[in-house]
């Protein structure tokens, strides 16, 4: 089954499912070449890959909430109780 897919070109529907493996660097050299050949020829898939990269950048902007002073204080008190036990 796999051999059959290796022999023909990647189609868009397959390419979008390879994007994460590609970004993670876990595709084989051969698969990487096939995907890159497809991306070079396919504007839609190239944009799709750019969108996934943009998505990752936006996700990187999502900060956790600031540590509330009373939470910090509560944890320091927890620490002192633990230490003094």
């Amino acid at each position: 089954m796999k051999l059959l897919t290796l022999r023909r070109d990647i189609v868009c529907q397959e390419a979008v499912e390879l994007v994460t493996d590609y970004l993670e660097g876990t595709l084989s050299r051969r698969e990487t070449r096939r995907l890159e050949a497809h991306l070079a020829a396919c504007e839609g898939c190239e944009e799709y890959l750019r969108q996934v990269r943009a998505t990752i950048r936006i996700l990187g902007r999502v900060q956790p909430e600031d540590l509330a002073p009373e939470t910090r204080q509560g944890l320091l008190e927890l620490y002192r109780r633990f230490r003094d036990d």
């Binding site: 969108q51 936006i58 990187g60 999502v62 910090r72 320091l76």
Partner: protein, 196 residues
Amino acid sequence: MSDDDLARRLRSGDESAFAEAVKTYHSSMVRLAQTFVSSRAVAEEVTQDTWLAVLKGIDRFEGRSSLKTWIFRILANRARSTGVREQRTIPVDVSAGATVDGRRFDAAGAWSDPPAHWSDEIVDRLSAGPLVAQVRAAMSELPEGQRAVVTLRDLDGLSSKEVCAVLEISEANQRVLLHRGRGRIRAFLEGELAKR
């Protein structure tokens, strides 16, 4: 300061080291815990229990993983079992595999409805807060496993190896969850940008 230094100071009972660890990790820990439990309050509780477990167990920390990975792993285990007790935890995602709606491709698998161009534009708008806030909200809609992996990888910046260690999943599983989670957030952004 390096992880090793921080671990050594924690072991020696240095309160400022504890304060520093709290400052560095607490908010991210609560965020990860929220993936598994029912409410913010429960997530805070689990995180507080984790700090106590960290203090009790720091002598056993051997530095084979980073301190961060070790702490997050304790947290993930506790949050997961709390989630199970709350009967909230839904076992592994068995959702369909496709990250893009199949109707957007023709019979041969080529785009019939290709993505509109917005990747450049969105990077320009990154400094705009509203979109980031919307993405934060969209994250909370992800299935548990996807949410945990995307949170650790893309929000907290852990490596794939660290994420596997924290969540006790295989590399292959990590990639699948990352792929689906990122795919859903991309689709969410696509929907938001189409509204304008």
